[in-house]
Every structure is written in structure tokens, then in C-alpha cells.
């Protein structure tokens, strides 16, 4: 595929630890993708609105506080409501393995806990956007 993949890198909630979000944004840009960064302290509503307005292919959430399940539950519902349920949703940060299944059940496709190689995230997005 030739078109540039467009990714929203989002920091939902009150947490401001954004090293990971910024590192992944740099990595995706280096890989030739277009990155829209929401900045900090975003409500889930604002993230969904940005995803729709910017017409991104991928919504990537960075969550370190442990609130990933309620945040993703709300995000998936709002995306579906907006007719944007087809976007590839990924989450990274402090995500314990015991929650992987629950996240997948919500429709989160990519789960990248801290320590995941950047190249793995990049490859996953390429593959899933291309095939989706």
C-alpha cells in the first residue's frame, strides 16, 4: 500500500508521564507514518473526537496509571457510536498480562506493554492497517 498511515497518539486521563507516548510518536514518524499527538490530560471524548476529525487509521493510547480497562471500554463504545469502530486501536504503557484478554475482548487489537520493541509496534501497525 502506498498511502501514508495516519496515527493518533493519545494520552487519555490525568496522567502526564508522556515519555513513552513521545518515544512511540518519534518511532512512528521515523517509520514514515503521519502522527497526530493529542497532548496531555485528554478526556476519552476528546480523543474520539480527534480520531474522527483527523480521520486517522490508528488510535494509540498510552496509559500508565492502571486505568486502561475503563478507559478502553469507554473509548471503544464512543468510537462505535461515531461510526469509527473500524479504526485499529492499540494501547501501550503499564499493562499487566492478566488484562490482555479483557482488552482484546473489548476490541483492542494491539497491546504493547512497557519494554515492547519499537519495531514490533511499527510492524504490527503496518500489517494490520494494510490487511484491514
Amino acid at each position: 500500500m502506498n498511502r501514508t498511515i495516519k496515527v493518533l497518539v493519545a494520552k487519555p486521563g490525568l496522567d502526564g508521564h508522556d515519555r513513552g507516548a513521545k518515544v512511540i510518536a518519534h518511532a512512528l514518524k521515523e517509520a514514515g507514518m503521519e502522527v497526530v499527538y493529542t497532548g496531555l490530560h485528554q478526556s476519552v471524548e476528546a480523543v474520539v473526537q480527534a480520531a474522527v476529525q483527523e480521520d486517522v487509521d490508528v488510535v494509540g493510547l498510552s496509559i500508565l496509571t492502571g486505568g486502561h480497562l475503563p478507559i478502553c471500554r469507554k473509548l471503544m463504545a464512543l468510537l462505535a457510536e461515531q461510526g469509527a469502530g473500524d479504526k485499529l486501536v492499540c494501547v501501550g504503557g503499564v499493562i499487566p498480562s492478566r488484562d490482555f484478554e479483557a482488552l482484546r475482548a473489548l476490541g483492542v487489537k494491539g497491546i504493547f506493554p512497557g519494554g515492547t520493541p519499537l519495531s514490533e509496534t511499527v510492524a504490527f501497525i503496518r500489517q494490520h492497517v494494510a490487511s484491514g
Binding site: L14, H17, A27, H41
Partner: protein
């Protein structure tokens, strides 16, 4: 997670070593290296306890005073946090360092919609003076100093600390709080900012000015190179940026007509330890000298005690790994040793499970024990500045001093730290470096044991601290009871006076203390400032 970069030949012999700050390390050092960097004992080191304090701020180091142990603690409601405080003090911890939950750090009450799911999660939830009364109940605040790890609303928490002291029978001139209160680093890393930067710095100026008379044992700011380093800065940048930030706060108070000698002695720093041991030690030794010279030459500070670089040198979370978490116990021990060899006044270590979540009582105690073993068994209190005189360490200290000065000059040339943070220069620079570090790790150019070398397959199980959803309900019920039972008119009146003071540009601290006494909530006070000061807008990053 930065570590030095090694170049090896095909027989695994090291050909070159470059430290994170960009300084090359040689295979051996001798007197000729000291000559090459122009080392002079009297000028560069001086005696311990004497200017420029390279060796230590105290003549006898840890002989005269052990370092303070101050693990970062707080979760759930004030009741849970008070229990953990009591546990740590019972085990010999000598200071407190309060972790606040995100709603509190962001100036939101526990029942605010944005607080949902976050109440008591990463720290203690605080809504009003009632919570401090519970959290500090049974603790001798004349004896135990308290770090308040909060920034955007640090002025509110400092006022509340005074109010809780009064309530529990402690004199405000004898209690010692160390609010973090460093908004510029919060914008560079960690991100718990609220207000536009000019009024946010003004608010910090208010706390410093207020403390001079009202709370003389309080350290009103703790400038955090720590979080800047966690965000991707090199050790040299960590020090340079922290000093640049400190200078911005000094300028704010000097503008009000004070001499730095009146307040700068109460500044403290929160600095980071992870990565290469030698680089950390050189960083702190050089840092003490650069800071003392900065105050003396730039600000005309006279009293030698005001030239001290004092602070918490703490084992950094970024050095820890999720992979093979027990390795973090070993890392913590070395970071603690680096802190001791560097002459830290206060130390805390991230616990081994903190790559997962906040620590369990067992892991927090293990960090405390690590420090105690260093002091009691390993010999870290024996003699001051034990690495002094090493050809290598002294050469490296001189080179690190040079690097710190270069980074400071770069910031000064761009109009100072406030301008660089407003513009996003520093944020872009450190986040780019963080990416380059991760990419080099992935290419195998940098090594983390258990991550990209000697890595093992499979998940490692650790017992994790569990978040209890019931804490939020309990906290919200407490808050609503406070709102119901307080004298509502009195609370409203104090908030009105606070707003008027903020609009008139007065020092808001006495007004905040009145608000706290009247059980005004953190959200109510923070909203006054939101209204008057406006909110910060992030500069463009990408």
C-alpha cells in the same frame, strides 16, 4: 534507562566507552590526566564542608549525620497512607514523602468527573484539611520532615501543611515541609501542570516569599532534575536544566526586592541516579561546585551555608525494568551506593515492583533496608567523599563540570529556562533523546541486562499492590460529609478573599491558609486560580 555506550572488538575487548553525557572514558588514568584538565585541589575541591563544596556540604559527611531515608509513599485514602507512614517510621525511616493521586495533583476534588477511576490510585487522595488530619495523625511533625510531591497546586498543600500543624499542635516555625513545587520541570516531564506558566511561576514565588518569615524550616521548592532525566535528558543536562529552573525561581523572588541570601538556602533539589556509577558520582560532585559558583558569582550570595546543593538523590525509576523484576533489587542497591558515594543528604529508592505499579509494603521496606544496610554494614558512613583523589573520578568530575556549564550556556543563550520551556525547546530535545536511546537499545548498541542481553522467555510473577475500588467511594463520601458539615459561609468567604488576592497580584499564601482552615476543598481553591490565571497550553511537539 541510559547506560554508557561500549564499542568492543571481536574478542569482546572494550575499545571505547562513551558516557551518556558524551564524555569518553579511557582505559587508565594518571597524574597527567589531572594536569590535562587543569585540576587544582584548592580551587576545584577544597576541603569537605568548604567552598566550592565539591567534596560534600558537611565537613564530616555521614559521620555527623546519616542520610535521611524518605521512600515515596501514598495510596488510597488518608487512612491507608497513614498506616503505611507509621509502618515505615516504625522500621526506622526518618522522613516522609507523600505521593498524591492524580486528581489531587491536578487540583480536582475526588468527585469531579475527570477523577473517575483515579481516586487513590497512584497516591493519596486529598480533598480538604480533614484528610491531612488523618494522614498525619500520630506523627511527630516537629521531628519528621515531609516531602509533598505535588507541583501545580503545591501552594495549596503547603498552606494545608501549616493548617494541619496548627490543628495537631505543631508550630509552623518548627515544622518542615518540602513541597516539590517545580512547575517548569513538570512541563518538561511528568506533565501534572495546570496554570499558564507566568502565573504558575508567580505562585512558586509566593511560597518562597511566604516561607522566609512564616515557615523558616520549610524548603519551599525542590527542583527536579529527576523527572527531566526520566524524560530523556543526559546527566549533564539534568543538572544544567535544574540549575536553569532554580535561577528562574530566584529571579522571580529577587524581582520582589529580596536578596537571594534571604531564601536560597532553603532551596532543595531532587536528582536522579541510574546508569553508569562513575558518571553519577562525577555529576553530583561537579554539580555542587557549579551550583555554589552560580549563586556566588551570578547572585552575590554571601553566606556559605546558602551555597549548599542540598537534596534528595534518588534511585531512578527509568533504570528499572519490567523484565526480570528481581534484577531491580540489585539495581536499587547500586543506585543507593551511588547516592552515598555522591554525598546525598536524602535518599529514596524506587522499589523493584515499581515498573508494574506502586510498591507493596514488602518491596517498600526492602528499599528502606537497602539504604540501612549501606549505612550500617557496608561502610558508607565511614569517611567523607571516599572517591576523592582518584585520577579517574577527579578527571571525570572536571569534564562533567564543563558539560554542565555548556548545557547551561545553551539555555542562557536561548533566553533562559522559562523561555526554553514555553517554546518547547527542552521538551523536544529530551523526547528526541529518549527515542534515540530506545532505538539504540533495540539495535543492541546499548545493553540492559535481562532486556536485550541474557534475556529469558516468559512472564515473571510478582505480588502486586492492588487498587481497591472501594477507596474512591469512601473518599467521596468523606468529601461530601466535609462539604455538608463545614461552615459553608466561612468557606465561601475565604475563597472570595483568595480570588481578590489573586486578582490583585498579592501573595496568596495567607489566603490559602485561611481557606484550608475553613475546610475549603482542593478543587475549590484550584478553581479560583484556574479562573484568574488561565490554563497552560502545550507548545507543539511534533
Amino acid at each position: 534507562m541510559d547506560v554508557a555506550r561500549y564499542v568492543k572488538d571481536d574478542k569482546d575487548r572494550i575499545q571505547a566507552v562513551t558516557l551518556s553525557s558524551g564524555i569518553p572514558v579511557k582505559a587508565s588514568y594518571g597524574p597527567e590526566d589531572l594536569a590535562a584538565v587543569g585540576f587544582d585541589y584548592a580551587r576545584d575541591l577544597g576541603e569537605p564542608g568548604e567552598y566550592p563544596f565539591t567534596r560534600n556540604i558537611f565537613a564530616e559527611g555521614y559521620r555527623s549525620r546519616e542520610w535521611t531515608t524518605r521512600q515515596y509513599t501514598g495510596f488510597g485514602t488518608p487512612r491507608e497512607t497513614n498506616e503505611r507512614f507509621q509502618l515505615m517510621i516504625a522500621h526506622g525511616q526518618t522522613g516522609l514523602n507523600v505521593a498524591f493521586d492524580l486528581p489531587t495533583q491536578m487540583g480536582l476534588d475526588s468527585d469531579h468527573p475527570m477523577a473517575a477511576g483515579e481516586v487513590g490510585r497512584v497516591g493519596m487522595a486529598v480533598d480538604s484539611l480533614r484528610d491531612f488530619e488523618i494522614a498525619f495523625g500520630g506523627i511527630d511533625l516537629h521531628r519528621v520532615g515531609t516531602g509533598l510531591t505535588i507541583n501545580a497546586v503545591a501552594a495549596i498543600m503547603l498552606a494545608m501543611y501549616q493548617a494541619v500543624g496548627e490543628k495537631l499542635g505543631f508550630d509552623r516555625t518548627r515544622i518542615s515541609a518540602t513541597p516539590q513545587n517545580d512547575i517548569l520541570k513538570e512541563v518538561i516531564g511528568r506533565g501534572a501542570w495546570i496554570y499558564a506558566l507566568d502565573p504558575a511561576v508567580k505562585l512558586i514565588g509566593d511560597t518562597i516569599e511566604y516561607s522566609i518569615e512564616a515557615m523558616p524550616r520549610t524548603n519551599p521548592v525542590s527542583i527536579c532534575g529527576y523527572h527531566i532525566r526520566e524524560s530523556g535528558a543526559t546527566p549533564a543536562q539534568e543538572m544544567a536544566y535544574a540549575f536553569g529552573i532554580a535561577n528562574s525561581y530566584i529571579d522571580e523572588v529577587v524581582r520582589r526586592g529580596y536578596h537571594p541570601d534571604q531564601f536560597v538556602g532553603r532551596f532543595s533539589f531532587n536528582l536522579n541516579i541510574f546508569g553508569n556509577l562513575w558518571e553519577q558520582v562525577a555529576k553530583f560532585r561537579a554539580g555542587r561546585k557549579v551550583w555554589a559558583q552560580n549563586l556566588k558569582d551570578k547572585y552575590g550570595v554571601k553566606d556559605p551555608r546558602n551555597l549548599w546543593l542540598r537534596g534528595l538523590f534518588a534511585g531512578g525509576g527509568s533504570g528499572l525494568t519490567k523484565a526480570e523484576p528481581e534484577n531491580n533489587i540489585i539495581r536499587g542497591a547500586y543506585y543507593g551506593m551511588a547516592a552515598a558515594l555522591s554525598g546525598a543528604q536524602t535518599t529514596a529508592l524506587c522499589s523493584f515492583d515499581e515498573a508494574y505499579t506502586i510498591p507493596t509494603p514488602r518491596s517498600a521496606l526492602l528499599s528502606l533496608r537497602t539504604c540501612q544496610i549501606l549505612m550500617e554494614e557496608v561502610g558508607m558512613r565511614d569517611t567523607v567523599d571516599p572517591l576523592a583523589g582518584s585520577y579517574f573520578v577527579e578527571t571525570l568530575t572536571k569534564q562533567m563540570e564543563e558539560k554542565i556549564r555548556e548545557e547551561m550556556a545553551d539555555i542562557d543563550a536561548r533566553g533562559g529556562m522559562l523561555a526554553c520551556v514555553k517554546d518547547g525547546y527542552v521538551q523536544r530535545k529530551v523526547s528526541r533523546q529518549a527515542f534515540e536511546f530506545e532505538a539504540a537499545l533495540e539495535r543492541g548498541e546499548l545493553v540492559k541486562v535481562g532486556v536485550n542481553k541474557y534475556a529469558t522467555e516468559g512472564q515473571h510473577e510478582v505480588d502486586l499492590h492492588e487498587y481497591n475500588e472501594a477507596w474512591a467511594e469512601e473518599k467521596i463520601a468523606d468529601l461530601q460529609e466535609v462539604r455538608r458539615t463545614r461552615d459553608g459561609d466561612a468557606a465561601r468567604q475565604t475563597l472570595k478573599s483568595l480570588e481578590a488576592a489573586a486578582r490583585d497580584g498579592k501573595n496568596v499564601m495567607p489566603f490559602l491558609v485561611d481557606c484550608c482552615r475553613a475546610y475549603a476543598t482542593v478543587g475549590e481553591m484550584a478553581d479560583v486560580f484556574r479562573e484568574v490565571y488561565g490554563e497552560f497550553a502545550e507548545p507543539k511537539m511534533f
